[in-house]
Subunit: 138 residues, 2 copies
DNA sequence: CTTGCCTTTGACGTCGACGTCAGGTTTTAG
DNA sequence: CTAAAACCTGACGTCGACGTCAAAGGCAAG
C-alpha cells in the first residue's frame, strides 16, 4: 500500500510516517518513480512504534530496540538495553501511581470537607450536591 | 530563603523557579530591592509541582489545580478537573503496564532463544526477501 | 490530453520547559 | 571599601516530534 492508506489505517499522519522512516523506525520499498510502498506488516509496525512513543521512549531508542522486539532476537547488549528501558517504564509507573494516589487523597479530602459543610471560603460558593456526587462517575 | 537556596534544596534550577513563578505555579515575596524571598513551604510546593510535571501535566493545568491540592479545598468544578486528570494518569499507567508486559515477553522470548539457541518464531511470518534486519551474511 | 487527487523532497514553524548568555544591581566576605 | 558571589530582567537558543507550506512530479478517470 502507499503512504496515504497506511496513514489512514494507523491514524498517523503522512508527515509522521516519513519522519519515522527518516529516524529508521520504518523502511519502505520504492516504486520506479520513487513512491513508497508498504507491506501489510507495516501497520503493526507503526502501532508498535506508537506504543513505544507513548511509553516515553525516544525515536533513537526505538530505532535501536524495535528490530529486537519485532524479530524476537537480540544480542546480550540489546537485551540489556531492553531491560533498562523496562526499568524506566516501571519507575514511571511507580511515580504515576504515587501521584494518582495523592490526587485520590486530595479528591477524597475535598469531597469530605464539602460533605461535612466545612467552610472552604469566607464567601461560600453555591454548591450543587448533584455534581459533587456525580464527580466520580462521568 | 532566597532563590539560590530554594534551588539547592529542591534540586531545581533558579531558571526553572523563575519560570514557575511566571507560570503562576509559585509566588514569592519581594524584598525592597526586588529579591525573591520564599517561606519554608515553598520547598514542598516545588516538589509537588515537580511531581505533577512528571505525571505529564502541563504548567497551565498545574497552575489551575495546585491551589486546590495545596489547600485541600476545591469548587465542584475544580474537583471535576482533578478527577479528569486522575483519569488521564490512570490511562497512562494502563498503557505503560501494557508496554512493560510486552517488553517482558520480548525479553523472556529472547532470553529463551539464546539459552536454547533456537530461533523463536512460533508462527512463521511471510518474510519477503528484503533484508529487514540488514544482516547480509551471518 | 486535461483534470484533480496523491506523492515527492526540502525547508521553515511550533510548542513546552527550560538552558544560557548579557548586562546591570544587591548582598556578603574580607 | 572592594571584590566576589548571588540576584535581577530580558531575550535568544534548544530539543523532539512532528505541522505546514511550496514547488514539482505521478496516477487514474473522462
Amino acid at each position: 500500500m502507499r503512504i496515504g492508506e497506511l496513514a489512514r489505517r494507523t491514524g498517523v499522519s503522512t508527515r509522521a510516517l516519513r519522519y519515522y522512516e527518516e529516524q529508521d523506525l520504518l523502511t519502505a520499498e520504492r516504486s520506479s518513480t520513487g513512491q513508497r510502498h508498504y507491506p501489510e506488516s507495516a501497520v503493526a509496525r507503526i502501532l508498535l512504534v506508537r506504543e513505544l512513543f507513548t511509553a516515553g521512549l525516544s525515536s533513537r531508542t526505538i530505532a535501536e530496540l524495535t528490530p529486537c522486539v519485532v524479530d524476537g532476537k537480540a544480542t546480550p547488549e540489546l537485551l540489556n538495553r531492553l531491560a533498562v528501558e523496562r526499568g524506566h517504564i516501571d519507575q514511571h509507573i511507580a511515580d504515576l501511581t504515587h501521584t494518582r494516589d495523592r490526587l485520590d487523597a486530595v479528591i477524597a479530602g475535598a469531597s469530605a470537607s464539602m460533605d461535612t459543610g466545612t467552610p472552604c471560603r469566607p464567601d461560600p460558593v453555591p454548591t450543587d450536591p448533584a455534581q459533587v456526587g456525580g464527580a466520580t462517575s462521568t
